[in-house]
């Protein structure tokens, strides 16, 4: 059977599975739709959180980015896992005790203000759309290569599937589909990594393999060989990066804090029965995430060595284009890899200086890796299914936040307080259908490449929600004036900095022009500090939070008496 038929079968089977689960887990009430009735087992919730969390960016782009960035790729590895420590220690248990459906609901109630609620809704919708655009794009890339449909058709198929289970099942449908999607995506990620690790180093565990000696009898360590290759070809040494220390520091912090402030991640902790389940669930989530995140740098290293060896040939003189392996022409047809014979010798050559003749998109590294390493066809098909699973699971989680923010926080709590549960559920479904349409449009007309777009969502979340939630829990006296002023100034500052350097004046996007040498990716950290400073300063000059709110804060600080998540 050829790769394409196999891919159709495996991707088709996973789709059938997701639809089956969606029908089984239909939502009957708003409680089902928003928080799966708060009855999800912490281990299952950990898996769903992991799938929710690991997006097309984690699955498709991250190892590729690390592969091209070397040490600097650590910003993603530490940034996207370290946030779970903050979540488990500072946020999840308290928000679970508080027991509402959404992040804007916490902000609105804690700051006793519908203005604060509306500001939070706007921030949530803004963050989620930034993020979801990248996911739909990821679905398109996978479909265009493996099923040979064009990106537009790929995005529409993806939208159809998400529409089906997100609109029908809400959080309940999404949670159980995500458990299945986690299993698909982690297998798809680990299987090729294990194969390649055995081939290159003889180690079954990739995490050990990439720090081991090569299998070719030379006795050199894999990373030493890669450092050598990199410097010879005019790149920076793989194990030391090119970014400045301050920039690495700020990007890592923005990603960590952003992780802890992303509404679609936080909302997952409202679905477990107890406060201690929320803590435990954060641990399970990080375990499931760590499986992929500790494998990613191994894949990055293997892929880079393999790619350089294949293109430049064993003697580092370049491989003749006629003898090029089939993956190069496969990916050339998607436009993600291209070769220009600059010196006219008919051989391909890849390097970091003027000898370079290749243009390789980072996004293909994970997807092409099994082909580069010559693995069996079913592994390649499995990777395609994994990429789709990662993109779908995250899109669904984000779309749910958009729809609940609108139907619950904006309509029910603000504009139309008298609608019934059934009507609210209908509005939630309409809102998620509209959101899917917009997300699809953004996927077909993407604003940038996957991981980069996603990285900005973190900066925005870090500079808006995180400080407001932290102050809401750890400071009894923090008032609405402070929180609103903080959120508005934090997100405005961060968005302005990013928009200026990325869209208005991209030519100026160089370290010389950045404030304190902080890139737009890392500016969310500064936005967060600004948010904290403004909030604390404004709160000093205005009245303390009312007594009943202070009593509520005292109440969320211990687990006893946590009820199920509720609307009021």
């Amino acid at each position: 059977m050829d790769i394409q038929t196999l891919t159709f079968i495996i991707v088709g089977l996973t789709f059938a599975l997701y639809i089956g689960i969606a029908i089984w887990a239909r939502a009957g009430s708003t409680r089902d739709f928003y928080v799966a009735s708060g009855g999800v087992n912490p281990v299952a919730n950990g898996m769903a959180t992991a799938a929710d969390w690991m997006s097309a960016a984690s699955f498709i782009s991250m190892a590729g980015l690390i592969s091209f960035m070397g040490y600097d790729g650590a910003v993603y590895l530490m940034g996207w896992t370290g946030g779970y420590v903050l979540l488990a220690l500072c946020l999840a248990p308290y928000l679970r005790k508080f027991g509402k459906f959404t992040v804007p609901a916490f902000i609105g109630d804690r700051y006793y203000s519908n203005t604060a609620r509306t500001v939070a809704v706007i921030c949530a919708v803004f963050v989620c759309f930034t993020y979801v655009a990248g996911q739909m794009r990821g679905v398109g890339v996978v479909f265009s290569r493996f099923l040979e449909v064009d990106i537009t058709a790929g995005v529409i198929i993806g939208m159809g599937i998400v529409f089906f289970y997100a609109v029908l099942g809400g959080m309940k449908g999404i949670t159980y589909t995500q458990v299945a999607q986690y299993c698909v995506l982690i297998c798809a990620y680990l299987v090729p990594a294990i194969f390649i690790s055995i081939m290159m180093t003889g180690h079954v565990i990739p995490q050990l393999g990439f720090g081991a000696e090569l299998n070719d009898g030379s006795g050199t360590y894999l990373l030493d060989k890669l450092d050598g290759l990199s410097t010879e070809l005019g790149f920076a040494e793989y194990t030391s990066g090119t970014k400045s220390t301050i920039d690495v520091f700020f990007i890592t912090a923005a990603l960590m804090v952003g992780t802890a402030g992303l509404p679609h991640v936080i909302v997952r902790f409202f679905t477990v029965p107890k406060v201690r389940d929320a803590r435990k669930s954060a641990g399970w989530a990080l375990l499931f995430i760590a499986l992929l995140y500790t494998t990613a740098p191994a894949i990055a290293t293997f892929a880079r060595v393999n790619m350089i060896d294949t293109i430049n040939g064993p003697d580092a003189q370049g491989t003749a284009y006629e003898e090029a392996p089939s993956w190069i022409s496969n990916w050339e047809s998607t436009g993600l890899i291209s070769w220009e014979d600059k010196n006219g010798d008919g051989r391909m050559f890849y390097s970091g200086d003027e000898r370079n003749e290749m243009d390789i998109d980072r996004d293909i590294m994970v997807l092409a890796n099994p082909e580069i390493a010559d693995l069996p066809a079913w592994v390649i098909a499995l990777v395609a299914a994994g990429g789709v699973a990662a993109a779908l699971s995250t899109s669904a989680g984000l779309l749910l936040v958009i729809s609940t923010s609108i139907s619950h926080d904006l309509l029910k709590r603000n504009l139309m307080p008298h609608i019934s549960d059934r009507q609210e559920l209908r509005y939630a479904r309409i809102a998620s259908a509209v959101a899917i349409g917009i997300a699809g449009y953004l996927g077909i007309n993407p604003p940038g490449f996957v991981a980069q777009v996603v990285a900005f969502a973190f900066g925005l979340a870090a500079s808006s929600f995180f400080p407001a939630i932290i102050l809401g829990i750890f400071s009894k006296r923090m008032n609405k004036e402070g929180a609103i002023a903080g959120m508005v100034s934090g997100i405005t500052f961060t968005a302005a900095y990013i928009i200026y350097f990325k869209f208005i004046n991209p030519g100026a996007n160089t370290p010389d022009n950045w404030w304190f040498g902080i890139s737009p990716e890392g500016i969310g950290t500064l936005g967060m500090l600004l948010n904290f400073a403004v909030a604390i300063a404004v709160a000093r000059f205005t009245a303390d939070a009312p007594r009943d709110v202070q009593a509520m804060v005292a109440d969320i600080r211990f687990p006893k008496g946590a009820g199920a998540a509720s609307a009021h």
């Binding site: 420590v85 488990a88 220690l89 990373l223 220390t245 960590m256 375990l287 687990p559």
Partner: protein
């Protein structure tokens, strides 16, 4: 108020914060410390094929993060019981949980 006294509530919160800040200090030290600020110094030391700073940045810090959450979960469950503010307990849902009960007693 679910605490026996105002004093208990304060003590519980203080112990909670102390645990939280200790764990966050370790969190900061492994990621921002070993993985970023001290990476060049640590890279002089080797761990098999890894330079140590590079290993912390791309592997080690993640393992430590995981350990921190496990310690937090265990310690907080203990603390909740000490001040009698744990959630009312129904029958254990799974083996892991009943083992954990034994451990914390």
């Amino acid at each position: 108020m679910s605490f026996e006294s105002e004093k208990h509530a304060e003590d519980y919160w203080k112990e909670n914060l102390r645990l939280m800040f200790t764990l966050l200090a370790i969190w900061f030290a492994v990621s921002f410390g070993c993985g970023i600020l001290l990476v060049d110094e640590l890279n002089a030391i080797r761990l098999g094929g890894f330079k140590l700073g590079f290993w912390f940045a791309q592997q080690g810090s993640i393992y430590v993060f995981l350990a921190l959450i496990v310690v937090y979960v265990i310690k907080m469950n203990k603390l909740d019981r000490k001040y009698n503010v744990h959630e009312d307990h129904e029958e254990p849902q799974e083996l892991g949980e009943s083992l954990e009960e034994e451990y914390t007693h």
